[in-house]
């Protein structure tokens, strides 16, 4: 029974492609954008050390870059949105980063309801 369940799971996992397969990368990029906004917001209030902020910027940017590179089609609207997010400077205004996160969330919701 376990073997049958595993085979079924593998088949189901193997079936997803295109935007559906991209969904998790859009989610990752959205989450990283939202976290980037949170980090910049807290940093602007003097609650974080400079070293931590620089380090988080690097890891979050890596995460977004990795999501962008794993997309099946980078020229989709969400691909371009992630690309635009990557163009933001490290110390971008939190509201602007949140706007990118919101747009990506909208793509997520559309794909999930499709």
């Amino acid at each position: 029974m376990l073997r049958a369940a595993c085979i079924l799971a593998l088949l189901l996992a193997g079936c997803s492609k295109g935007p559906e397969a991209d969904l998790q990368y859009i989610q990752q990029a959205r989450s990283a954008a939202a976290e980037w906004a949170l980090v910049n917001e807290q940093a602007s209030q003097g609650k974080l050390t400079d070293t931590y902020v620089a380090s988080m910027h690097q890891w979050l940017r890596d995460e977004i870059r990795s999501s962008s590179m794993t997309l099946t089609d980078p020229d989709t609207r969400y691909g371009l949105e992630i690309h635009a997010l990557l163009q933001q400077p490290d110390d971008a205004v939190p509201e602007e980063l949140r706007a990118h996160a919101d747009k990506l969330k909208q793509f997520e919701d559309d794909l999930e309801s499709a």
Partner: protein, 411 residues
Amino acid sequence: MNPLELTLGIMTAVGGFVDISELVFAAKAGSQFGYALIWVFALATVGIIVFSEMSGRVAAVAKQPVFNLMRHRLGLKLGLLTLAASVVSTLITCAAEIGGVALILNYLTGAPYVLMAIAMTGFFIASIWVLPFKWIERTYGLLGLFMIIFATALVAINPPWSQFAGGFVPQVPKGLSTKELLTFGYFTVAIISAVMFPYEVYFYSSGGIEEQWGPKDMLTNRLTSIIGMGLGSTLAIAILANSAQLFGPANVDPEIPGSAALQAAIPFGKWGLILALLGMFFAVAGAAIETCMANAYSIAQFFGWIWGRHKKPWEAPRFTLTWLVLLMLSLVIVLTGVDVMVLVEFAVLFSILVLPLTYLPLLLLAGDKKYMGEHVNGLFANALGWLYFAVITAAAVAALPLFILTSGGNG
């Protein structure tokens, strides 16, 4: 009883509960499902208390660590299979902890990740080589208590306490889509696995033998299990609840360990951040040592070698060589550049598959009057033991399909 004797439990728990996997899983669980997964932590905490108390009792009375039992109770072939699976899972976990420590040092100092991974491996080798077992557990167990900042942060952000309390009631949130239900299922299984990591009982029972526990230490064993694991669980639940309050509404699904530190920075500023990072550093460093030692204990006990840190390194040469090689192998895994979070996901998956085989021999021996005499499992301990055995077996069966269907909880 000397309160410092509780440090074995504190190190086991802080390094077991609040290791790198917990920092991420608890935070992700909170951001995605609010307080709805708190009951899984509570359920699994009772499970790890039951089995760690049992393993400590068996170590004290029958003088048998877990892997001795495994070979005798499961037979050579199944025992060897369990050993192999367990060594792989614990090795991956150890690599994830080393990567995690390097990441945390990167957040603290800005020093390069790879350099920190190499330096910390050297530091761990020196720690295990030089420090007596008692000092290893005291240093990492007590300094890991900086993690209490996460519980303090929860009080400071003052969440809706009625909703928080409601999280302790077993539940599946209403209105979830099929995909979200599967993800909820995956998180349930992953939390059980991460809380009940087999290496915790390998380390704990071997630690009891290192400390030469006997039947007179039953109270120490019971208190250590309950207080140590209870403390670890409280901290993990605090991380989950902070995340439900701070990350969920902000659309953040924390993917990197550094995110957790924000939970203390938001209410307390820079000092909160630094204390959180220090707590995470010592807890994850403790977990790295714990996983490496647990693996070396397992191998040495299975093959009947002389083992233990109560002996000088050269008095137990094969044991010493084993932990040295295991630490170096873990470092090599980190140096391949594999993502720490990928390591965490695989460690959790492998562990749940090994769990039933780890706990079955323990359960059988703790219930055997011939070995345990008057300290044999009572009706209550036996009932709880078998109940949890059923829970982890069900979780082990569900783990792989859920992992594949949800891409490791990523939807």
